[in-house]
Amino acid sequence: MSYIKPKFRHPRLPTNNLGYTIADYDGAISTLCAGCGHDSISASIRNACFKSSLHPHRIAKISGIGCSSKMPTYFLSRSHGFNSVHGRMPSVATGASLANRDLTYVGVSGDGDTASIGMGQFIHLMRRNVNMTYIVANNGCYGLTKGQDSATADLGSISKYGDVNGFDGIDLASLAILQGASFVARSFSGDKEQLEPLIRAAMAHNGFAFIDVVSPCVTFNNHNGSTKSYAETRDHLDAMPVDFVPMRDEIRTQYAEGTSQSVTLHDGSVIHLRKAVSGLATNDRQSALNTIKSNEDKARILTGLLFLDPDTQNLSTSLELATRPLNELGKDELCPGSKVLKSINEGLR
């Protein structure tokens, strides 16, 4: 269990344009493991909403099932939230957005929730370009069910149980670009300088915005990294009771655009991040894919805004929905009345 709110807060907190303080964007106390990357993401979402001066109650939070999908409880208590079923958040979010096109939708998911059980819905959500921000807290494993490999785990990575992953990891950002997402970004949970503005941009984007956030799992981390250091750590773990989760600190990082940075995870493995220069985001899907791939070939994870198509048609527009939210319509707009029914009857004679 960790806390995303600081224990003490100055009585006169600064307010944003709408007069809210950051506390108005707080959530419940997190029950995730101390040091879990997911808590950093929650904090960034909270901060992004505060800085962007969004009305908390005009945001709806939707998630699937998993440690990551618990996150919406831990930010924005003034927003409605829906912790639905495993892997099917995309459809719930689609329905919600159809019912009321005026709210801001934040979907939160995990790599298990999205890349395994949710893969089909994820792809079709992008195809429909639902107007929402979709954040995957990507830890390469199933945290809540205790550490199995997920479909984004790197080939050759070793799970806490000592199994070597024999399958290629799915790169969700590339997939999103290929399958038509109109905003695709990647970041690292501990890099709030990068993550917060990305979240703000995603929420401002008028269409489907995807952010793949590398978010280390303290307890069952599954990144490939340096095998040596990993093995060393493992040896250490062997002597521990299986149910012991040591207290850890969040991993924070900070580095400049256009540079690379190595981050050592809690288990001693290392990942290599490369920060794209902002403003360079391409609206050419093919070249975005190529850039991601060439970094991957150098074992680097490219972060930043990777693709953007600002002039996109979201689902509400492509379905030609009227501007008033469907859930506000009343009998007058909806019910054609007895006269019309009479004429329909006539047509059926």
Binding site: S84, V92, D102, N345
Partner: protein, 626 residues
């Protein structure tokens, strides 16, 4: 040789190949009878492919207005060599067989107890038309023309129908009328017309039919209209026979009736989902967010939706699901009808779940119950599953016109808006303030500081705070039971009719019959068949689950109750035994699960057999408990 006789009372069946355009011609035939004011019920029996396989169309004509299947065929029109043998075999002795004798009938197929009428349809059309497409297409119209003569169909009515159908396309009208005439002429010239079975306007038609100007429509269209009138704004679905036309019709009507006057934009959304899980997920999301949302599906879709149905039950999200049942299990027979999802729907999903079901029996009820489903789903904050079937959904039924009360107000249930939240003393999403098991919900975005809560399937307390306490869990699921109790008085109540008087009853037992949906019509007919034979049977038509206490009472008041349904396992009987305190030996199943709708004759036969052999089986109950 015997000749079947009857005015406005017979069964005609057409044997065709699918994809040849026959359905339209057959529909023309049925609709003409309908326009003559004579009760008719046509049924399409079609294969699960697009072109080239046998397909049938059965038209029942019934002066009394029985709309279920009777059983047996009096006149068969066969233009499909593939099925000729079985088609000939299916005609009642003394019946009539109309066929294409362009090729002569194989001698071994001849029966000497039925009447054959060979008409060279193919030859006539080859001679008359040069385009192969027309040769193929108009053949169907020619046999309708012949039937017009044989059965005495009002020719003017037929022409009127063609005028309506091809409005503005004069050439098409005249070619069709010509084809009709060709058939008519051939029949009058070669046969004694009309046959002893024939139609007569007015005739012996039951007064209650004559009094109302009926309409002819299928249940799926009616349900779609119900969704329009019920204020549905979000329809998410995945195509599956036989439910597809619910959404098709909804989209068609919405395009006409739901366009925002100012902008020309849509006041509704139809989304074809990637599968049934997604379709139901969208409905759940939209329902949670305050829109009236629904989906339509069939068997496999119900299975796939079951996880989400469990979520909606537990998270208390309004959801409307129209289940147009087909033969199961698994892929089953996708184009055949059954009532076999009763248990799957009532207990959809793992864990302790109970879902509210509605059982429409007519297009009118499809309409009304769909409207009602939206009210109920918001009132009860739970999924409402309307259990239609292929027979009801895809076939045309004669029906009194749909009615609408302009004073109708949608029941949006217990939703607190900003004002409501400000007025409320204490609010908790799962607090049972009124003691009816139904709590007050709020919609996202309603209030800047109040009413936000977290919806989850999993553990929670009354305040919607995460909790794994056993007490919180038990309180919550017990309240859901209380809500189910509340539902009993809100759902459509079962229907009874005044008992049938019987002069010399052959049994001392008080007999009852329970049925629902498309089993109702033939059941009523069977009961009327049996009354003059000395078996008075009271009836109750079930219209919803949870069952009203009247159902218990009905069973209690009878010694033996037949439960008539169209599935193998007697699922409604099981549901009754589960939910009521009924001695099972009281309930006897009358079943048909062949995939083609149950017939009145079949029901009557099964009841007769049961009454003649069952008496032994009725005793043990007394014995057992003595």
């Amino acid at each position: 040789m015997k000749q079947i006789k009857g005015t406005n009372d017979f069964v005609v069946k057409f044997a065709n190949v699918n994809g040849t355009g026959s359905a339209s011609a057959n529909h023309l035939f049925a609709k003409a009878i309908f326009r003559m004011g004579i009760p008719v019920s046509p049924r399409n029996i079609f294969p699960s492919n697009i072109q080239g396989l046998p397909t049938w169309y059965e038209v029942r004509v019934s002066s009394k207005g029985y709309l279920g299947r009777r059983g047996g065929v009096d006149l068969m029109v066969c233009v499909n060599p593939q099925s000729m043998e079985q088609d000939i075999a299916s005609v009642e002795p003394g019946g009539y067989f109309v066929y294409d004798n362009t090729k002569p009938l194989a001698p071994h197929l001849k029966r000497d107890d039925i009447h054959f009428f060979g008409i060279p349809f193919t030859e006539m059309c080859m001679r008359e038309y040069s385009v192969p497409r027309l040769q193929q297409l108009l053949k169907n119209v020619v046999y309708v023309g012949a039937l017009a003569a044989l059965l005495d169909i009002d020719f003017g009515v037929l022409k009127g129908l063609l005028n309506d159908q091809f409005k503005g396309k004069e050439k098409l009208i005249s070619s069709n009328v010509h084809a009709l005439e060709m058939g008519y002429q051939y029949a009058t010239e070669n046969f004694q017309c009309p046959l002893p079975i024939k139609l007569k306007k007015g005739g012996n038609v039951a007064p209650h039919i004559l009094e109302t100007p009926h309409i002819l429509m299928n249940g799926n269209t009616a349900a779609a209209l119900g969704a329009i009138y019920g204020g549905a704004t979000v329809a998410a679905w995945y195509p599956i026979t036989p439910s597809t036309s619910v959404i098709d019709s909804f989209a068609t009507y919405a395009k006409r009736l739901r366009i925002d006057a100012g902008s020309g934009k849509k006041n509704y959304a139809v989304v074809q989902a990637e599968d049934e899980l997604a379709a139901m997920g969208m409905v759940v999301g939209a329902g949670w967010n305050g829109a009236r949302a629904f989906t339509a599906t069939s068997g496999p879709g119900v299975s796939l939706m079951s996880e989400f149905l469990g979520l909606a039950y537990f998270a208390e999200v309004p959801v409307v699901l129209i289940n147009v049942q087909r033969s199961g299990p698994s892929t089953g027979m996708p184009t055949r009808s059954q009532q076999s999802d009763v248990l799957a729907a009532a207990y959809a999903s793992h864990g302790d779940t109970k879902q509210v079901l509605l059982f429409p029996a007519t297009p009118q009820e499809c309409f009304e119950m769909t409207v009602n489903a939206f009210d109920l789903s918001e009132r009860l904050q739970t999924p409402i599953i309307m259990m239609s079937d292929l027979d009801l959904g895809m076939n045309d039924w004669m029906s009194p016109p749909l009615e609408w009360d302009d004073n109708y107000e949608m029941d949006r249930g217990k939703v607190l808006d900003a004002q409501g939240l400000d007025d409320a003393k204490k609010w908790g999403r799962y607090l049972d303030v009124d003691g009816d098991g139904i709590c007050y919900r709020t919609l996202p975005g309603a209030h800047p500081t109040k009413g936000a809560y977290f919806t989850r399937g999993s553990s929670k307390n009354e305040m919607a705070v995460y909790s794994e306490s056993g007490d919180d869990y038990v309180r919550n699921v017990d309240r859901l039971l209380r809500k189910f109790e509340t539902a009993k008085d809100l759902v459509p109540q079962p229907k009874t009719h005044p008992p049938i008087e019987v002069k010399k009853p052959k049994t001392k037992l008080k007999l009852g019959a329970l049925f629902f949906g498309t089993s109702a019509s033939p059941s009523y007919e069977a009961v009327e068949m049996l009354a003059p034979e000395g078996y008075p049977i009271d009836t109750m038509r079930i219209r919803a689950f949870p069952f009203h206490n009247d159902l218990d009472q009905f069973i209690h008041d009878h010694d033996l109750v037949f439960v008539i349904e169209q599935n193998r396992d007697g699922q409604m009987r099981q549901l009754i035994m589960n939910e009521c305190q009924i001695a099972p030996t009281k309930l006897t199943s009358i079943l048909n699960y062949s995939g083609t709708p149950i017939t009145a004759r079949d029901i009557a036969n099964q009841i007769r057999t049961s009454l003649n052999t069952k008496s032994a089986k009725i005793v043990p109950l007394h014995a057992e408990t003595a």
